[in-house]
C-alpha cells in the first residue's frame, strides 16, 4: 500500500507560535478593530486637544511670572477665564518639571486670604456641530495642597454642570487627573476647567493653591498623552479671541511692538487708520485702550501726541478702525506708535 504524505502550504507550528505572542488589552483591541478608522480612534491619533493654550504657553495680556491679583471673570493667560466666589487669589505662570519628564508652563492659582467659596480656572469653548453629544475626556496634571480640586464641565449632557469624581489628594505633589463625560446636545458653548470646591462652596485657607499643566480635552473615554503644539500655532489660535494691535515700547503685556500703523489726517483734529488683524475674530471685538495719551503721530518730519484714542464702531471681524484726536495737516499721511510703556490697543472677542 502506498501512503502519500503532503506538506501543508502553511507552517502549522509557526501559526501556533504566533498565537502565543504576548499582547495586552490595548493590543487585543487593535487586533479586534474592523477598520483603520476604529484603530485611529483607539490610539487617539491626529489633532486631539479641543482646548486652546492647554500648555499655558501663550500670555498676550501680560507676564504673570510673578503673582498677579485676580479679578473675577477676567482673562489672564490666553483663553483661560477666572471664575471665583468669596476668595481673593493671585495667578502665576510658572515653569515646572512634571513626573512624565516634561518641563512645562503651568497656571497656579493661590488664595491670598481665607474665605468660603470656590476658585475655578476654566475655558469657554465654542461648540462645533461634531462635538454635540460626544463623549469627551478632560485630563491634566494637577498639584495642590487641598483635596478639593477636581474637573468641571458646564454644558454636560447630564445635569448641565458636572464635576469629576476624581480629586487631588492634597499632598502637594503632581497628580494626573482625568474626567470622562458626555457633552450636551444643543449648546452653543460649554466650559471645561478645574475647580477647587466639593460640589458647593468650601472653606479655603490663605495660601491654598492649585497648579495645573498640560490640560487636554479630547473626544473619547481615554486620556491620551498631551498634544504639544508650536508656540506660533497656539498664538494664532488664541488670536481668534484676543489680539494686541500695538503696545508701548516696554509694555510687558506684549512683544508685538509699538507700531500701530499708517493713518491719514481726516480733519484738522482727527486722524483715522484701519488696522488689520492677524487673525479673523470670533465676533466683532471690543476695542481696549490703555494709556490713550501715549500714542505719538509722525508726519512732515515732526510729531504730535494724541489726546484721545477711540476704537470706532466701524470695527469689524477683520479690521479695527482707530480714531486719534490729534492736530496735524489735513490730508497728510501719518504713522503712529505707542510711546509710553503703559499704552496698549487690543481687541477682545472672547466668549
Amino acid at each position: 500500500m502506498t501512503v502519500k504524505v503532503s506538506k501543508p502550504a502553511i507552517n502549522v507550528r509557526e501559526e501556533l507560535a504566533d498565537l502565543r505572542k504576548p499582547s495586552g488589552a490595548a493590543g487585543e483591541a487593535m487586533l479586534r478593530a474592523d477598520t483603520p478608522q476604529e484603530q485611529f480612534n483607539l490610539i487617539g491619533a491626529g489633532r486631539r486637544n479641543i482646548l486652546y493654550n492647554g500648555g499655558f504657553t501663550v500670555s498676550q495680556r501680560g507676564d504673570y511670572t510673578s503673582a498677579t491679583a485676580i479679578t473675577n471673570n477676567n482673562y489672564y493667560l490666553d483663553r483661560w477665564n477666572m471664575d471665583f466666589q468669596g476668595i481673593n487669589a493671585v495667578i502665576e505662570n510658572n515653569t515646572a518639571d512634571l513626573p512624565n519628564g516634561n518641563t512645562v508652563k503651568t497656571a497656579k492659582i493661590r488664595a491670598t486670604g481665607s474665605g468660603t467659596g470656590y476658585m475655578q480656572i476654566r475655558q469657554k469653548i465654542e461648540v462645533e456641530s461634531w462635538m454635540q453629544g460626544r463623549e469627551v475626556t478632560l485630563s491634566a496634571w494637577v498639584k495642590s495642597n487641598s483635596s478639593y480640586p477636581r474637573f468641571r464641565i458646564e454644558g454636560a449632557a447630564i445635569g448641565g454642570n458636572e464635576d469629576g469624581t476624581q480629586t487631588h489628594s492634597g499632598n502637594g505633589q503632581w497628580e494626573f487627573l482625568t474626567f470622562t463625560t458626555t457633552l450636551a446636545d444643543g449648546f452653543s458653548f460649554f466650559h471645561a476647567g478645574v475647580v477647587l470646591w466639593n460640589g458647593s462652596t468650601v472653606a479655603v485657607a490663605n495660601n491654598d493653591y492649585m497648579e495645573i499643566a498640560q490640560v487636554q480635552l479630547e473626544v473619547g473615554k481615554v486620556a491620551t498623552p498631551f498634544e504639544h503644539r508650536s508656540y506660533g500655532e497656539e498664538l494664532a489660535a488664541c488670536q481668534r479671541y484676543y489680539e494686541i494691535l500695538a503696545a508701548g515700547i516696554n509694555n510687558s503685556a506684549s512683544n508685538t511692538g509699538n507700531l500701530l500703523g499708517n493713518f491719514s489726517q481726516y480733519s484738522s483734529t482727527l486722524a483715522i487708520g484701519i488696522v488689520p488683524y492677524k487673525v479673523t475674530k470670533r465676533a466683532v471685538p471690543t476695542g481696549i485702550v490703555q494709556g490713550a495719551t501715549s500714542f505719538r503721530v509722525y508726519s512732515d518730519g515732526g510729531n504730535s501726541t494724541a489726546t484721545a484714542v477711540n476704537v470706532d464702531g466701524d470695527t469689524s471681524l477683520t479690521k479695527a478702525r482707530i480714531d486719534l484726536t490729534v492736530s496735524r495737516t489735513v490730508g497728510h499721511a501719518l504713522w503712529v506708535r505707542g510711546q509710553g510703556n503703559a499704552c496698549l490697543i487690543a481687541v477682545d472677542a472672547e466668549l
Binding site: 481726516y266 480733519s267 482727527l270 470670533r282 465676533a283 466683532v284 471685538p285 471690543t286 476695542g287 481696549i288 485702550v289 490703555q290 490713550a292 477711540n310 476704537v311 470706532d312 464702531g313 466701524d314 470695527t315 478702525r321 480714531d323 477682545d348 472677542a349 472672547e350 466668549l351
Partner: protein
C-alpha cells in the same frame, strides 16, 4: 458707566468709561451682553445720557427671554408630583387595533382596552426616625422623629419654583406659547 460713541462719520458703538472699552453693537460680543445685563439691573443709572431705543429694546428682549426660561423651568418643577402625596394611577381606554362588526349600527368598531398612562407612586414616609448622639460619650443616643428630608427638600424646591411663577410678569406668562 456707559455712553454711546458716535463718530464724525456716523458709526456707533458703546463706550465703557470705567474700563475705556469700545463695545460693538454685536449680540455675539460678551461685553455687549454685559451692557444689556447692566441696563436690566440698573436701568438708566448705568448710562450717561438716555439709553438708545435699540439698546433698551434689546435689554427688554433679553430680560423677557430670561424670565420666560425661568418661568418654564419653574412650571415644569411644579408639574412634578408632590412626594408627600404620591401619584394616582391614571388609565384611559385605547383601541387595540382590532375591529369588530357592530350588528346594530352596521359599522366596524374599534375594540377598546384599558391602558395605564400614568403609573401610581406611593407617597414617601412622612417622617423618619433617627438616632441623635450627645457630646456625652456615656449617654445613650435618643430617637428623634423629623419630617422626611425628601419631603422637606421637595417642599422647598416647590416653594422656590412657586415664587418664580408668582414673580413672573403677566406679559411673560401671556407670551409663553406652551
Amino acid at each position: 458707566m456707559f455712553n454711546i460713541n458716535t463718530s464724525e462719520l456716523g458709526s456707533r458703538n458703546i463706550h465703557c468709561q470705567t474700563h475705556n472699552h469700545y463695545i460693538p453693537l454685536d449680540p455675539a460680543n460678551r461685553h455687549y451682553q454685559e451692557v444689556l445685563d447692566a441696563i436690566i439691573a440698573e436701568g438708566a443709572d448705568c448710562f450717561d445720557g438716555d439709553i438708545p431705543a435699540d439698546l433698551q429694546a434689546a435689554a427688554d428682549e433679553k430680560q423677557f427671554n430670561q424670565q420666560l426660561a425661568d418661568y418654564r423651568t419653574a412650571t415644569a418643577r411644579l408639574a412634578q408630583y408632590v412626594l408627600a402625596d404620591g401619584r394616582a394611577e391614571v388609565t384611559e381606554m385605547q383601541p387595540t387595533g382590532e375591529q369588530v362588526f357592530n350588528e346594530e349600527t352596521g359599522e366596524m368598531e374599534d375594540v377598546m382596552h384599558e391602558v395605564i398612562v400614568q403609573t401610581a407612586i406611593e407617597p414617601v414616609e412622612a417622617t423618619v426616625t433617627r438616632l441623635v448622639y450627645s457630646d456625652d460619650m456615656d449617654a445613650e443616643p435618643v430617637e428623634e422623629t423629623i419630617e422626611n428630608p425628601l419631603i422637606t427638600s421637595d417642599n422647598a424646591e416647590r416653594a422656590e419654583a412657586q415664587a418664580v411663577v408668582d414673580a413672573t410678569p403677566a406679559a411673560v406668562v401671556a407670551g409663553d406659547p406652551e
